[in-house]
């Protein structure tokens, strides 16, 4: 028996398998946002339909659910009823706010008329807000506590359970 081969082989195998084993069970697409724990980037954006300007700073005092979406994104359609229902359920303790990016206002209005809405939706015309929040794709949702600090973030469409689990982190 060749002991060198055995020891070197087992050492390499142990290290490699150990690393791979530790890597199991995590979601590699779940890149932690560097914004978590930081003050949410400020913005003032125009509300769809009314044209009213919405300033994030004025929403301080209660938790905010900030949902980035677009009408061309099918997972957003899937998520929309969940948001509408939960916004109603948590009213007036939590403020929901939709931010639409890379989209046209007529399409957004159409979408909201057909599928209903229970919270304001603003348009991120030049995509500056999406850039400030580091949006990689829609939908992405940020959970802000009453002080305007980002406590949690979810990538992709949310089920009611995911939404409420994240809300727990900001409602205290």
């Amino acid at each position: 028996m060749n002991r060198t081969v055995l020891f070197v082989g087992v050492a390499i195998a142990a290290v490699l398998l150990g690393i791979l084993f530790l890597g199991l069970g995590k979601n590699p697409n779940d890149i932690r946002s560097p914004l978590i724990g930081k003050q949410a980037p400020s913005f003032t954006l125009r509300e769809v339909g009314t044209g009213r300007l919405v300033d994030l700073a004025t929403l301080k005092g209660k938790p905010v659910v900030l949902n980035f979406w677009a009408t061309w994104c099918a997972p957003c359609w899937e998520e929309h009823p969940v948001l509408v229902a939960n916004a109603r359920m948590f009213e007036p303790n939590v403020q929901f706010l939709g931010v639409v990016f890379q989209d046209e206002e007529s399409k957004i209005l159409n979408f909201l008329q057909q599928r209903g809405s229970s919270y304001p939706t603003v348009v991120d015309d030049k995509g500056k807000t999406a850039i400030a929040y580091g949006i990689g794709g829609v939908p992405e949702t940020f959970f802000l506590d009453a002080n305007g600090v980002i406590a949690a973030k979810h990538n992709g469409p949310m089920s009611p359970d995911i939404l409420q689990a994240n809300l727990q982190k900001v409602m205290r």
Binding site: M1, N2, R3, V5, L6, G9, V10, A13, L16, L17, I19, L20, F21, L22, G23, L24, G25, K26, N27, P28, N29, I31, R32, W72, C73, A74, P75, E104, G136, G137, V138, P139, G156
Partner: protein, 667 residues
């Protein structure tokens, strides 16, 4: 109905492979020819069953039978037929079934072509092949079952991953990759059989080399197709990003390339036997590691399939295979005694060893870079990624030295060489190296590594072309006519050698094209309004406007550009943004004008249909097309060397290996 039939076929293939594996190993121990024959029958049975199951799935896809789980998951009535066909490998479960299909084909053909030959090694080789087959059939039967019944069956499905639908290359790249990946099971079987027997005789070297060469060719082409796809589809103007899954395809290629060279040393000098079987085993293990990377969800990549439960199962298989190999090597490596010894540093075998060490160094470099983020995250919880700077700074120097060795190695004779011989062999090519570097300098190349690559390429070109046509020139010196000398010396007798040097020449071409295209690339970002013309990288680019185009499965916004040079129209380019249903973001598709001299490449970053404005990135890079061409030539050269000439094939079929002791000839 189809789902149930599929499940039966898979379970039967699991039984056939497991039984055949046991029979094979038993026949290897008892040296029973009857046992070997039964193992072979089970290998054929396995092949038939798993291939049948894959065809059944294709049938279900094409007939849109949404009661079959996998069809409900990836099928769609609105996608083109070619997309439906390639949907087989578009998602996790189907891709494992496709793996089984390819493995079935390889095992069936390998069993058939080795019939009556290599009887000493064949039972154990079949045992190893069918053990791997049993694992994959188990995966298909359980954790990744594509034949689940869906009730009630939906009327339509979502269609496969949009990236797969976006370019026809995606229909070709995965099959080549699987043919490369899965095919590595066959040489692995021979290497394990040699270790189990404790003998790596001359008899087994030929099947080992050929079984390694064929998947190597497929893997080579697959890696190139993957890069080409990235270049044509992803729109960042590059073809290789050191993405974990790209690395996963490169790792087994590196060890397989090393093994193909070390086998030649075993053939010629009878040394490096243990090393060679280790490389072949490492190749297979890296294939399984690559499969784990793409399917466990551990690595983040454009290639990864969604998170799945089969990660732990593949990891367990990797662990078993790894420990099996280590045990086998530890107990048997000393039995593969050397028949000769290394003669000196300035010999061809020494250069082969240097080449092998460089390939292994590259393998470790890439492997460490790939798993490093996992180590960091396991240790301190920080997320990070290892990118270009690490890989470029490590791989470019090693690659350059490798190219140098590619030039020096074939110039040196086997065995001991006098210093006179060494000087005569190594000095003249220096002139060509200097000429090449000078040409590069006058072509305005100032990057040190690119100039060095060109110089080493020139050196290697001198040696390679000299060696390539040596047999023909020798024949002509003896008074043969040029045509007969070419046919006899190059095409007929010297096929393997000629093929090998074609590969080397192509490697030089690829190295130079990669170095020049990446260091001379120009990147410009431009903003256009409709009708506007701008000058970029020697071309006049006019934005003709933006259109929307709708197809059943996607909506595209297309930017139309006229390209002209010196007032003469050259071409029209149409980069686009494709929005597929169910995708979170649109996928851009660039458009490329390719010429032998270089590529002119447009990618949209932003396009506005209402205002008819657009922002684009323009890449101009020389020689890109030569990368793809060189790699195809590598594959063709290797294929040329692999296919025996008619005369050699006829001679070989008359020679039969002696039977192992104690065996009797039955049929």
């Amino acid at each position: 109905m189809i789902a149930a039939l599929g499940r039966i076929l898979i379970l039967a293939s699991l039984f056939a492979s497991a039984a055949g594996a046991l029979l094979g190993f038993a026949a290897g121990r008892s040296r029973s020819l009857d046992g070997l024959n039964w193992a072979r029958r089970f290998a054929y049975l396995y092949a038939g069953l798993i291939i049948g199951a894959a065809f059944l799935m294709e049938y279900a896809l094409l007939t849109h039978d949404f009661s079959v789980g996998y069809v409900a998951q990836v099928g769609s009535r609105s996608v083109p037929t070619w997309v439906t066909i390639v949907s087989l490998w578009s998602s996790l479960e189907g891709s494992i079934l496709f793996w089984g299909f390819v493995l079935g084909a390889y095992v069936g053909l390998a069993t058939y072509f080795t019939r009556g030959k290599y009887v000493e090694y064949q039972p154990d080789a079949i045992g190893v092949w069918l053990s791997c087959a049993a694992f994959f059939s188990f995966l298909i039967a359980g954790p990744a079952n594509p034949f689940l019944t869906v009730s009630p069956a939906p009327l339509d499905g979502p269609g496969p991953n949009a990236l797969l639908q976006n370019h026809v290359l995606m229909a070709i790249h995965p099959p080549f990759l699987y043919l490369g990946y899965v095919g590595m099971t066959i040489p692995f079987g021979f290497a394990c059989a040699a270790l189990l027997k404790g003998r790596l005789g001359h008899g087994v070297l030929k099947p080992l080399r050929e079984a390694l060469m064929l998947p190597w060719i497929f893997l080579t082409i697959a890696i190139m197709l993957g890069g080409w796809w990235a270049y044509e589809v992803l729109g960042w103007g590059g073809y290789w990003a050191w993405d974990p899954v790209e690395n996963a395809s490169l790792l087994p290629w590196l060890t397989a390339t090393a093994a193909l060279h070390s086998i030649m040393v075993v053939e010629r000098r009878g040394i490096l036997k243990g090393w060679t079987v280790t490389l072949v085993q490492a190749t297979f293990l890296l294939v399984i590691l690559g499969t784990f990377m793409t399917r466990s969800g551990v690595f983040n990549s454009v290639h990864s399939f969604t998170q799945s439960a089969i990660g732990p199962t593949i990891l367990a298989f990797l662990a078993v295979a790894l420990l099996f190999c280590i045990g086998l090597l530890a107990f048997r490596i000393d039995k593969l005694e050397s028949e000769g010894r290394m003669e000196g540093a300035a010999s061809r075998e020494a250069m082969f060893l240097v080449n092998n060490l460089l390939f292994v160094l590259l393998t470790f470099t890439v492997l460490i870079g790939t798993v490093f983020p996992l180590i960091v995250e396991a240790l301190n919880g920080k997320q990070m990624s290892v990118g270009r700077p690490y890989f470029d700074s490590m791989v470019i120097p090693i690659g350059a030295v490798l190219l140098f060795v590619l030039g020096v190695g074939p110039a040196l004779p086997w065995g001991r060489a006098t210093s006179e011989q060494v000087k005569k062999a190594l000095l003249p090519p220096l002139a060509t190296a200097i000429v090449f570097a000078a040409v590069g300098w006058f072509a305005n190349i100032r990057s040190f590594w690119t100039l060095l690559t060109i110089a080493f390429g020139g050196y290697a070109a001198h040696v390679t072309l000299g060696q390539m046509f040596l047999p023909m020139l020798q024949r002509m010196k003896r008074g043969e006519a040029a045509t007969t000398a070419f046919v006899e010396g190059q095409l007929s007798r010297g096929r393997r050698r000629f093929g090998g040097y074609i590969v080397h020449a192509a490697v030089m071409g690829a190295f130079i094209a990669i170095a020049v295209s990446s260091s001379m690339r120009q990147q410009t970002e431009l903003h256009f309004t409709k009708g506007q013309t701008q000058k970029v990288s020697g071309f006049d680019l006019t934005f003709l406007g933006a259109d929307q185009r709708s197809e059943p499965h996607r909506t595209s916004i297309v930017g139309r550009f006229a390209v002209a040079r010196d007032g003469k129209p050259v071409t029209t380019l149409e980069p686009r943004m494709n929005q597929y249903e169910g995708m979170r973001e649109p996928i851009g598709t660039p458009d490329v004008h390719t010429t032998a001299g270089g590529d002119f490449y447009l990618a949209l970053s932003n396009i506005d249909l209402t205002n008819q404005t657009t922002s684009i990135t323009v890449y101009a890079a020389p020689l890109v097309v030569w990368i793809w061409i060189s790699v195809v030539v590598m594959g063709l050269g290797a294929l040329f060397g692999l296919v025996p000439s008619r005369r050699r094939a006829a001679a070989a079929s008359q020679v039969r290996e002696p039977l192992p002791e104690g065996a009797t000839e039955t049929a």
